[in-house]
């Protein structure tokens, strides 16, 4: 079943000025239910723009985005969030630093439940939070009252991941969520991510700089450059590829594309 569909998306920044930049050019991508797609590409390839458009932070100039066959192209971010869980690159970005762990978790519950005047951290919820944190096994279970601003980057990212996923979103968006962490922590978060996605069978779109990670994780890989998808690999192809293969593939495609431009110019 098709869960996320992007059709012929176009996005231009600073249109009509000398700084005009075509961020996304005619991009189409479909995620089936249960797909875990990793997106790689160099800086400025349009990966983050793509993710922001799926989340509703940016609206496309042209094209259509649908989730579960609902057209959500211009549905504002806060309404679309009902179906989407997100983890950001910056560990500061996904949590409220001056609120406690339990208050952050209660806030995350509001993603799918309508907010009313009931107590945010009720005793029932508190027990639930404790259980979920114990399952996550990152040593936060006994620190429910701790302000999130006092946690380390890795702990915050683990909490962000939990907050984005424990309400079982239809779609999970990960925006280089391990890039700001040291190698050991990054690996830890990567492992947790894989566990959480597998357990909840979450459909996921993950942007990363790390080609190794992109090959290890997920069942599909997408390579972007200059706002377009230039290469796709399915689970089978992905398994047989190394980072070296990916780099060669990238250069080969880009080289060919340049050659094409040259031949066009000659005509």
């Amino acid at each position: 079943m098709k869960l996320l569909q992007l059709k012929q998306i176009e996005k231009v920044f600073y249109q009509g000025t000398p700084d005009e930049k075509k961020a996304i050019q005619g991009l189409s991508l479909t995620l089936n239910e249960g797909d875990f797609v990793t997106v790689i590409g160099s800086n400025g390839a349009g990966k983050s723009t793509l993710l922001n458009m799926v989340a509703g932070v940016l609206f496309p100039d042209e094209g259509m985005i649908s989730i579960d066959d609902k057209n959500v192209t211009f549905v504002p971010e806060h309404k679309r969030a009902k179906w989407i869980g997100r983890v950001f690159q910056d560990p500061m970005a996904g949590t409220a630093p001056n609120m406690s762990i339990e208050e952050n978790l209660a806030l995350a519950l509001g993603r799918t439940n309508k907010r009313g005047l009931r107590r945010g951290v009720s005793s029932n919820r508190k027990k639930e939070f404790q259980q979920t944190l114990t399952d996550l096994n990152v040593g936060l279970a006994n620190r429910l009252h701790t302000k999130v601003g006092l946690l380390s980057g890795g702990e915050r990212q683990a909490l962000s991941l939990l907050m984005a996923t424990f309400t079982e979103p239809r779609l999970l968006l990960l925006d280089e969520h391990t890039a700001a962490l040291d190698p050991a922590r990054a690996e830890h978060i990567t492992n947790i991510t894989q566990d959480v996605i597998r357990e909840n069978n979450l459909t996921t779109l993950m942007v990363t700089h790390d080609m190794e990670q992109a090959l290890q994780m997920g069942n599909r890989l997408v390579m972007m450059d200059e706002g377009q998808i230039i290469f796709e690999a399915n689970e089978e192809e992905k398994r047989q590829m190394s980072v070296q293969d990916l780099v060669e593939k990238f250069q080969q495609i880009r080289g060919k594309a340049l050659a094409d431009d040259k031949t066009l110019l000659h005509k």
Binding site: A96, M99, A164
Partner: protein
Amino acid sequence: MVSALFGAMESGLIYAIMALGVYLTFRILDFPDLTVDGSFVTGGAVTSVMIVSGISPVLATIAGGAAGFLAGCVTGLLHTKGKINSLLAGILMMIALYSINLRIMGRPNIPLLNETTALNQGRSLWDAMQLDSIISSPLKAIGLSSFLPTSFFILVSIGIVVIIVKKALDWFLHTDNGLALRATGDNAKMVKSFSANTSNYVIFGLGLSNALVAFSGSLIVQYNGFADVGLGIGMIIVGLASVIIGEGIFGKKSIARTTLAVVLGAIVYRVILAVAMQLEFVKASDLKLITAIIVTGALVLPNMWSSWRERSERMKKQKAMQQSLDEERRNEVATAQTD
């Protein structure tokens, strides 16, 4: 002196409601809202006009608060929908409210001395129950009779109102909506990703804050016995002073602790002001200057104090180290001489 102190505590309690409103915008929403200078008067203006035209004073007080709520919402709309910078949105609303307040009042000053206010009504009930003598008698028994005010009515009744407002605010800030409001001021980007419409929370938060401010203005007008269009000048500074002094002295560990600190801060501020006004060379017209000095002091002194302590601590350690070095050298010299 004693009556001045009691007066300061009474008005401090009334201003505490305003300070809670300022706390809500300044600290919770992280929105420096200058609407306060205008909405404080709006509350008083609406209440006094309604009282003069014979409407029930309790109803008039509620209406005053409601007017403040609307004013705050407009500031919120200017900021969220009109994309106007938060400071500028507040200043625009403050200026606009000055004219609006004059329109509401019809003249710059409305006396209420001969009108029945909500406070008068409560007072006659209070006197009928002879509560003053019940409170005073044990105090008189321990020889405090010369320190007693004429009545405890304002302290007790406004005190109860302030406790109710504080408790209600504490409760609200821990509900699901309250958490979203707090997170909006803490990390707006993140709240949006959790299905919260941050614009609505900013608008509502500003409305609630200004409702409290206007409610306080409405009570002050009834307490003073007159409404004046210039009553709100510098009110935001008074509010900030209460928040900063309160947090500085009484701490800000949790929401409940901070709201208590803000209330006490408002009272402390009034008491400092009353003491300053007792000084002989201080004139009534120096009030605003003293306000500015108190706020500056509250902002600067805690920093200076902590950096001074840090420095003296450092000096002490340096001295101890120097001493032990000197000791060592002396020992070395001594051993060299014995050789």
